[in-house]
């Protein structure tokens, strides 16, 4: 008895599909279900159906709306800077060609470092009093006093400071992907444009970037999703402070669940957060990626 190919393919996929159904879809279902209840954090405590009350509370709370905007700002800062730096490095490596290969490898190393370690390391570099960055800027004559910039203690700039480890960790990924994309651009095309008198900026904006568009889209979407979920680096650097100025959505949900003991409200926040992520991701994929249309 030989089963059909279609059925055989289905059997091959079943274990993985079951795994994702049990360990991702079911917890998600529980999360959504919990968002309609007022739940006592004590195990076996009361669990009362409250309808949409948790959603109303979430949208009415300043902390939730603030965290939403901060998450958006954080994601934009991380992805923009990473893209600019990654593209710069990819162009540099491409311009240097084969002889830069060793350095391309070395440039990869932050990708292997745990985000928690990166957060810790940059906290140590930026911390008040004995942080090295303030001291070096002071010695270089840029700052009048090593503590002039409170990287992690000034609520106005802390959201930018906590993004630095994230940028440091994954610029390599951006660079790697863009570099690979650059290798696929036919050399003749560039030569032809040069013969036509195209200068470097025109070459970049008229030829290279449009040709890289599908690669850029994938890299931006992948990194955008990751940045919007950032947790480790921020937790270890500031724990969301000072005055919640670096509290992004992941941290707020975590604190609502664990510290403030309100699983129902945290679940409602988690549900909104997930829906927003899906909506933005689909929008991004539909507008900038457009799979199929670029080929």
């Amino acid at each position: 008895m030989r089963i059909s190919d279609r059925r055989f393919a289905l059997y091959l996929m079943t274990p993985a599909a079951l795994f994702l159904a049990i360990f991702v879809a079911y917890p998600l279902f529980r999360l959504i279900a919990d968002s309609f209840f007022k739940i006592s954090p004590i195990a076996g405590g009361p669990r009362d159906f409250v309808g949409l009350q948790n959603y109303v509370t979430a949208f009415a709370s300043e902390a939730f709306m603030g965290a939403g905007w901060r998450t958006l700002a954080y994601t934009l800062v991380v992805v923009t800077l990473e893209f600019a730096l990654g593209l710069g490095m990819a162009l540099l490596f491409t311009a240097l060609g084969r002889s830069s290969q060793v350095w391309r490898t070395v440039f990869l190393y932050p990708l292997m470092i745990a985000p928690i370690v990166a957060g810790l390391l940059w906290k140590f570099l930026m911390i008040d009093n004995f942080g090295l960055i303030g001291t070096l800027l002071h010695q270089a004559g840029i700052l009048s006093n090593p503590n002039q910039i409170g990287w992690l203690s000034d609520p106005n700039i802390v959201l930018f400071s906590v993004a630095i480890p994230d940028i440091w960790l994954t610029t390599s990924f951006m660079c790697l992907v863009l570099f690979a994309g650059l290798q696929n651009i036919p050399g003749d095309l560039i030569e032809a444009a040069r013969l036509d008198g195209a200068r470097a900026p025109a070459l970049l904006f008229r030829i290279i970037l449009p040709l890289l568009r599908p690669v850029i889209a994938v890299a931006l979407v992948v990194r955008g999703i990751d940045a919007a979920r950032a947790f480790d680096t921020i937790l270890i650097q500031t724990n969301g402070g000072p005055q919640s100025a670096s509290e992004t959505m992941s941290l707020l949900i975590y604190r609502t669940m664990i510290r403030f003991g309100d699983p129902g409200l945290a679940s409602a926040m988690g549900t909104i957060y997930l829906l927003a992520m899906l909506a933005v991701a689909f929008f991004a994929v539909a507008t900038i990626w457009r799979p199929g249309k670029d080929n």
């Binding site: 279609r6 599909a17 947790f231």
Partner: protein, 321 residues
Amino acid sequence: MSSRTAIPRNRATTEGDVTGQAAQPTSKVTAPQRLRQRRGVNREGLEAGRRSTRTILWILLAAAMVLYGFPFLYLLFTSFKTPIDTIAVPPTILPTEWTLENYANALGRSGVLASFINSVQTAIISTLLSLVLAIPAAYGITRYKTPSGRVFIMAALVTRMVPPVAIGIPLASMMSSVGLADTPIALSIAHTTISLPLSIWLMSSFFEAVPRDLEEAATVDGCSRLGALWRVVIPVVSGGIAVTAIFAFLASWNEFLFALLMTAIRSQTTPVVIANFQTQFGLDWGSMTALAAVYSIPVILLTLLLQRKIVAGMTLGAVKG
């Protein structure tokens, strides 16, 4: 990039510039040949030719590498400082006195060695689980191209967007209801929810590259479809499996949030221990940096050794997509 010379260059002239020797352009090469040569080496179109330009670019690269590499070097230097040196004002880059005290402190602390064992255990179980589930699934998706396969790979992509913080708590309570609370198995299952979609995605690209004739020949010779997968296809994609394994391993090794939510004392992994240094024992920067160095260096070395394969794996999905 910034060189706008219109003269067609070939590899010989470019390399001549690097070594500083005036290489003779190979004049015997005909125009079509040269064109073909250039097509083969895509890099050439964007590679800078002028010596002055290249010098400037090398200086830029050197600056970038110093800025980029410095933070981790500073972590290493700090781990060799004495406790007083660590928080000296103003800080120094190099230790005034080199010592292994921080390493002895960090590794001697109770729970640290156990957390290493937990990290290794969790990462290995999660890697194996990812591979065992992803290989057949990816094969089914790429080889048979059924509608269910297309739906499945999209669903796997969507799981990537699920924030761990949203499913961590329900997952933890599921685990405790089946008696797996605070075990490496529970944590590795949670880590597999992260690495499985990635593994399916990667393995699909690798299977895509295997010519279909290969299994067809095997099935004609009397191999079953499963037999063909196991005996013919798997050996061909073994390099791809290695790459996927590294990614799954790294995802688990470096993961923090699930580890924080799902482990207590018994199965705590090292990232949680590193984070706990700052609350439980005050700000013990020296030990913290030492432990962070010990935890990071093995994977950095491993990846530098296997870098070619890893680069291939990282770029496959994105560039082809």
